[in-house]
């Protein structure tokens, strides 16, 4: 009985993310900033792996009645093994918006701790006196649906066991399974780490312009 109670408690255990989204205003454009994202504990190691890590943020602006717009920001971070510096390239809807070099991991961590997603929506097209919200979905190293379908096909074709290899009854890698489940949920992109957060309602006329 004690084990059963333990199991039920464990099954009910879900993580809570303390991240916050706030609206920003710069150059006449509305943006967002995501503070205190709980990235995976392995991220610092991944950031210095020499491979490109991508942070994908889909930002949706909405009022009480409808969505006012949606933008996708991707931040690619790559560590140069020889220069020991990080290059950070931000794109918005596929167009490079900003490139910079950060000298150390603490600088990258500081950037990620208050993730800037500036200048997304023209404020001229938005009503000043209406309450708006920003919903941000953040994914780390996302995988698109096409690639996932390719991998699933590969899994189906390769579930025949081989000596010293794929013997067994089930694949059990949790990360891979999580990604599968996100596609079943209707997502077009999925990732092993994924967070969705919304801002508190705000009005444009209550925001202050930020300096560049």
């Amino acid at each position: 009985m004690r084990r059963a109670i333990t199991l039920l408690l464990l099954l009910a255990n879900t993580g809570v993310d303390a991240a916050e989204v706030s609206a920003t205003l710069a150059d006449g454009k509305l943006g967002a900033r995501v503070d205190a994202l709980s990235f995976p504990s392995t991220l610092p190691k991944e950031l210095t792996s020499g491979l490109t890590n991508r942070i994908y943020a889909q930002v949706t602006l909405a009022d009480a009645h409808a969505n006012r717009g949606q933008k996708v920001v991707e931040i690619a971070i790559r560590y140069d093994l020889w220069d020991e510096k990080f290059s950070v390239v931000s794109t918005m809807d596929g167009t490079i918006a900003e490139s910079r070099t950060l000298a150390s991991l603490p600088e990258v961590n500081a950037l990620l701790a208050a993730l800037p997603l500036p200048r997304l929506f023209e404020t001229a097209n938005l009503p000043a006196g209406v309450e708006l919200t920003l919903r941000v979905e953040v994914l780390l190293n996302p995988i698109d649906r096409e690639k996932m379908l390719m991998i699933r096909k590969w899994v189906a074709q390769n579930n025949t066991p081989e000596v010293g290899g794929r013997a067994g009854i089930s694949m059990s890698n949790a990360i891979f399974n999580q990604i599968f489940d996100q596609y079943a949920d209707g997502s077009n992109v999925a990732a092993a780490w994924r967070v969705s957060i919304a801002s508190a309602p705000f009005r444009l006329d209550s925001l202050q312009h930020e300096r560049r």
Binding site: L11, S87, K147, I169, S170, F176, Q178, F180
Partner: protein, 404 residues
């Protein structure tokens, strides 16, 4: 680990070294575009899996230009395997600027698999608890052989009728018999004791130990054919049932005498036995113990197909959960069912989980008047792959006798 640089790689490294000063002067914007060349691919963390097997999943070799897309694809391919709990790639500086060593870091999964089932069902005027457990070593001798011990107990709780069963099986499975991944073989010993009697007087009982041997061969991409023999020198079995004419027939078929032979054909395109997201399994059996009125109650035909849609998984099942090839499922299902399952968000303890509801229907036999005895009902449950307990399946099943 010995460093091996082939000729192609040496040339590439030499060319890179000429351009090294230029590369160092590049701006931040172009650092991302700096070409890198694979000097070597090495593995870490692999104690029982060969690096050659791991490397085979990365379609890059020494001398190739580094393609991050290929690395991410290989990461996914390796992550899909049950062999590893984590797979990570990283780069290390090679012999010259621009030459990189690709390091594949793996954490091997435990070869021990545990599975637990706890259920309660109310069927045909009998309430019972179902308890099952399985423990298996899935990489015996480091060669993928399997040894599997499973036990099932169906314990009566209440009710006017009887349904009680105890089953223990120890199996040795070679998924690559004679060194070929086309062949598989299963040898096992099993003891089974079961009694049942329904409200109409249909009954069955068995108390038998048996030795089993199955040889199979995989055909084409997903199909297989197998032949099995079960030998039981001493068994105590009896069964009686009403037929469609209203006659009561007691029998002791030869197929359940000293030995039983089974020929099976099937296919399996599912991506996961416990949590299928797509694909189907099919199996048809001839001979052996596959009679719905026998105490074992297994069916000749089994089919399962899963679709993903509307944020859920839909599974159609005929003949219960599948036991394709050398696998053996433990579970309680109705003959025909449609399951609606939704994934549960993984956490620290649940690696993967689903809750499900499963309406179904089952043909049970005939009543004393020769009319069809059938049931319909609903199963609701939760299945998860947990870090603490392994696979866990909890369910409730209730059915109604449709013939009354």
């Amino acid at each position: 680990m010995t460093t091996r640089i082939n000729k192609q790689c040496r040339i590439a490294l030499a060319m890179l070294s000429w351009f090294a000063p230029l590369a160092a002067a590049q701006t931040a914007e172009t650092i991302v575009e700096e070409p890198l060349v694979v000097q070597e691919v090495i593995c870490t963390g692999n104690l029982i899996t060969s690096c050659e097997f791991i490397r085979d999943h990365l379609y890059l070799v020494a001398g190739d230009a580094l393609d991050e897309e290929q690395i991410r694809n290989a990461e996914l391919r390796l992550s899909a395997l049950r062999n590893f709990t984590s797979v990570n790639f990283r780069l290390e500086k090679g012999a010259a600027r621009g030459a990189v060593i690709v390091v594949i870091e793996v954490e091997e999964a435990s070869p021990i698999v545990r599975e637990w089932l706890l259920g309660a069902s109310s069927r045909a005027d009998a309430q019972r608890g179902v308890f099952a457990g399985r423990i298996a070593h899935q990489n015996l001798f480091g060669e993928g052989k399997i040894v599997d011990l499973a036990a099932v107990a169906i314990v009566p709780i209440a009710g006017e009728t009887l349904n009680e069963a105890y089953d223990v099986a120890l199996r040795y499975v070679d998924p690559q018999l004679f060194g070929s991944n086309r062949n598989f073989g299963v040898a096992g010993v099993r003891w089974r004791k079961r009694r049942y009697e329904d409200i109409y007087g249909n009954f069955g009982s068995i108390d038998a130990g048996q030795f089993e041997l199955t040889l199979g061969r995989r055909i084409a991409d997903f199909s297989y054919l197998s032949f099995g023999v079960a030998v039981r020198s001493d068994n105590d079995w009896a069964a009686g049932r009403w037929d469609s004419n209203g006659d009561f027939v007691t029998s002791n078929p030869e197929s359940f005498s000293d030995y039983g032979l089974t020929l099976a054909y099937g296919w399996n395109t599912e991506d996961d036995l416990y949590f299928p997201t797509r694909g189907s399994t099919f199996q048809i059996n001839v001979g052996g113990d596959y009679q719905p009125n026998e105490p074992e109650g297994r069916t000749h035909i089994q089919f399962r197909k899963t679709w993903a849609g509307s944020g859920a998984y839909w599974t159609f099942k005929l003949g219960g959960d599948p036991s394709p090839e050398y696998r053996d499922s433990v579970g309680e299902s109705q003959l025909l069912s449609l399951s609606y399952a939704r994934p549960v968000a993984p956490g620290d303890n649940i690696q993967r989980g689903r809750w499900y509801i499963e309406p179904g229907f089952a043909f049970k036999g005939y009543t004393s008047s020769g009319t069809v005895f059938y049931e319909y009902g609903l199963k609701a449950g939760f299945r998860a792959d947990t870090k603490l307990f392994g696979f866990v399946d909890l369910y409730l099943l209730g059915t109604k006798d449709g013939s009354r």
